[in-house]
């Protein structure tokens, strides 16, 4: 399949996923159980992506020792619980991560 077709298809599907709940075509008044399951989707979809970024190296091997990514990942969870703010979490953790990963430059 051509790359352009794939891009357009993914674009249409992304738009449809966003549009369907707003279209008014489907009523989403489900049971409490249904709503709770739907609410879990961002958690169960984004967590594997986070795990992949923190626990696998560039060659897709599971890392065997604690690295700066893991330390900063847990730090981000703590900062997020404390500040409850997306930007603060990103900026503070990224700053610490950049300092840790470039500390040898500071030491000369």
């Amino acid at each position: 399949m051509s790359v352009w077709y794939l891009i357009f298809l993914c674009g249409v599907l992304t738009f449809l996923i966003r549009f369907i709940p707003l279209s008014g075509l489907i009523k989403f008044k489900g049971s409490e159980l249904y709503l709770k399951v739907i609410n879990l989707i961002p958690i169960v979809v984004l967590t594997p992506i986070i795990v992949q970024a923190l626990f696998f190296d560039r060659n897709d091997n599971l890392i065997e020792s604690v690295n700066f990514e893991i330390i900063c990942g847990f730090l981000a969870i703590l900062i997020s619980i404390l500040f409850k703010n997306v930007m603060t979490t990103i900026l503070l953790t990224m700053l610490i991560f950049l300092i840790l990963t470039n500390i040898h430059y500071f030491n000369g």
Partner: protein, 229 residues
């Protein structure tokens, strides 16, 4: 009562601080897209055709190595959270015309949703409120296009020791951590994380879907228990 312009300006102003995090994300996408072999035009136009950060990065990383079906299912699974955004924001937008709902659906990203849903919940008068989402959505759209261009043309100038890609998992941590409050949510999160490690090597294009669906199944009894309490 606020005018259309006042709602729009509020959306733009409240969305602006988030662009500090969005810009490097777009930059990374631009760099990855070019490195993966996409043409300049494909890399740039994908930012308006798909207009979804994580999906575009997954596309750029995997379009050459997995089947179109696997790529499409991965992108659908990544975007499924937008269904949830749509369901909750629909409460405030259901009186709008089809034209407006199409425009706002296109602009409904993580960051625009987070800013506007908070604003909608605090406003009693709903007239013209949708201009806030238009403002926040357009701000993000513009930043995304500009940062993509920067990534495409100037990405190579960024020193290699600055690992900006780490912003992506950090953003996801910052988004989902406040969502996890109940016991069944902790269980679902832990289960999907552990399952991701187990499935990652088996079939990398399906690890997100397998982990997500199985962890939903695992957490079902705990949700039912929570309901019965």
């Amino acid at each position: 009562m606020e005018t259309k312009l006042e709602h729009f300006k509020s959306g733009v102003i409240q969305e602006l601080p988030l662009q500090i995090g969005v810009f490097p994300f777009g930059l990374i996408y631009g760099i990855l897209a070019i490195e993966s072999g996409l043409s300049l035009l494909q890399a740039f136009l994908m930012s308006s055709i798909i207009f979804a950060g994580a999906s575009q990065i997954v596309f750029a990383q995997f379009y050459l190595v997995v089947s179109p079906f696997s790529l499409i299912t991965s992108i659908i699974s990544i975007n499924l959270r937008h269904l949830l955004y749509g369901i909750s924001i629909n409460e405030y937008l259901k009186e709008l015309s089809l034209k407006w709902r199409i425009i706002l659906s296109y602009l409904l990203t993580d960051e625009a949703y987070a800013i506007s849903i908070k604003y909608f919940a605090t406003k009693k008068n709903k007239k013209f409120m949708h201009y806030h989402l238009l403002g926040s959505g357009l701000t993000l759209f513009l930043t995304w296009q500009i940062s993509t261009l920067f990534g495409i043309f100037f990405g190579r100038l960024i020193p290699e020791n600055i690992n900006l890609a780490f912003i992506i998992p950090l953003s996801f941590i910052a988004i989902i951590t406040p969502m996890i409050k109940q016991k069944y949510e902790i269980i679902a999160c832990l289960a999907s994380g552990i399952l991701a490690i187990l499935f990652y090597k088996l079939n990398f294009e399906l690890w997100i879907i397998f982990s997500a669906l199985l962890s939903l199944l695992i957490s079902l009894p705990f949700i039912q228990k929570d309901n019965s309490q």
